[in-house]
């Protein structure tokens, strides 16, 4: 009896193992076939894309002429996806007329439909990919859709959408700050600053609204922007941020004042030092004396060398050393 069960178990196990092996083989073969098909399609598309990049393909009225073989190829969904992937990949490396030609081709073939469909996916990475494609291909018509995603519950989707907004419209793209309820990570703030590095900040971009935002990370970003661009015209607003209830805002305001100093900066920081309860922020203020202080501040720093707190003493001594 037991031997019969054993035989049966062996047969069942072997059958399951066989099914597993066959399934794995089929999956592998399918993946290989798709990869091969993608490669073959990419090879067929390559000369045509190069013609467009190198401006060989003359514009037929508003559109690029699509050769018959490519037109036939693009009837396949996979081919359109491959073309989209290739265009996005090359667009990241090309600017000028060549880059603009790729954008035109993207719109002409309505490849944004694939990207827009991706933005409706439930999977975050597919959604992010769709947003990234629209941003990279500078698809201005998708602005509103991307704006909707800037306050998405998923961090990655949100970041991708916010980056795309800045790519599409520069400072104007930051209008998502008005509705943003989630915090902006410091890393992402630096990313956005990097994208805006060559565009000077002015009152018109909405910076005064951001400095009064109820989202402390938006205020923090605005302060970082002022500091990076040494925008001294916002000095008074930066000073006002020292009274913020949020620690991150007060800290950023202290750092920002160090980058846009005026004759009164040290006096303001000294006054704030006496009001500030947070030790880390007090240490920040002391550090600013090293860069922006003068001989007149030596007496104040010497009084700090007498306090009980070792960290404050040490920071004051370091700043004193730099001043003397």
């Amino acid at each position: 009896m037991r031997l019969e069960y054993l035989h049966l178990a062996i047969i069942v196990f072997s059958f399951i193992a066989l099914i597993l092996v066959v399934s794995m083989l089929l999956i592998m073969l399918r993946k290989r076939a798709i990869t091969r098909a993608r490669k073959s399609i990419a090879n067929q598309l390559e000369p045509w894309i190069m013609d467009i990049i190198l401006e060989n393909a003359p514009l037929d009225s508003e559109n690029f002429p699509v050769p018959a073989n490519i037109s036939l190829l693009l009837e396949r969904k996979l081919a359109r996806k491959v073309l989209l992937r290739e265009l996005v990949k090359v667009k990241r490396s090309l600017s000028g007329v060549s880059g603009e030609n790729l954008e035109k081709l993207f719109s002409q073939l309505e490849l944004q439909e694939i990207s827009l469909h991706r933005t409706t996916s439930k999977r975050w990475h597919v959604k992010s990919k769709g947003i990234q494609e629209l941003g990279t291909m500078n698809h201005q018509a998708s602005y509103e859709r991307i704006l909707e995603l800037t306050n998405n519950e998923d961090l990655m989707v949100r970041m991708e959408a916010q980056t795309a907004m800045v790519r599409l419209r520069g400072y104007k793209g930051l209008e998502f700050f008005n509705t943003l309820t989630y915090p902006l990570s410091e890393w992402h703030q630096v990313n956005i600053l990097h994208l805006l590095a060559h565009q000077p900040v002015s009152e018109q971009v909405g910076i005064l609204d951001w400095l009064n935002s109820t989202n402390p990370s938006v205020v923090q970003f605005a302060l970082k922007l002022i500091a990076e661009q040494h925008a001294g015209e916002f000095y008074q607003q930066v000073l006002a941020c020292l009274d913020s209830p949020y620690e991150i805002v007060r800290k950023e305001a202290i750092l920002c004042l160090g980058q846009v100093p005026s004759m009164t900066t040290i006096a303001e920081l000294t006054a704030h030092f006496n009001k500030e309860d947070n030790k880390n922020l007090r240490l920040c203020i002391i550090k600013e004396f090293a860069g922006n202080g003068s001989e007149e501040d030596i007496a104040f720093l010497k009084t700090l060398q007498q306090v009980e707190d070792v960290d404050i003493k040490l920071a004051a001594s370091k700043s004193l050393l730099q001043l003397q």
Binding site: A42, E46, I49, M50, I53, L54, E86, K89, V90, K91, R92, S93, L94, S95, G96, V97, S98, G99, H194
Partner: protein, 122 residues
Amino acid sequence: MKILIAEDEPIMLKTMELKLKRDGHEVITANNGRDAIQLFTDNHVDLVITDIMMPYTSGLEILGFVKKNAGRKIPVIVLSAMGQENVVVEAFSLGADDYITKPFSPNELSLRVMRFAAMVAA
């Protein structure tokens, strides 16, 4: 002028190749760093254009190899992505002669190469 281009993105590589060939240069290409070093060793190259991020051997390693083993002055143009400023500094410290930040226009590349061609001819 004989130019070696090292770039792992196929369409970019062919675009640069075609553009520079049209400008009258002789161009050889490699899609990875290892092949680029081999081609450099086997050919009498006048200018090297290399992407920084590449499989097997990075653009910086190619740059270091060229500057160490060329035996004569061979200009190297480095292609870098936006946000790789630190790498560009490293490239200059290794002897890079110029750099182009992606995204760039093929015409810009063409003009920069022309400048080096004039220097080589002089």
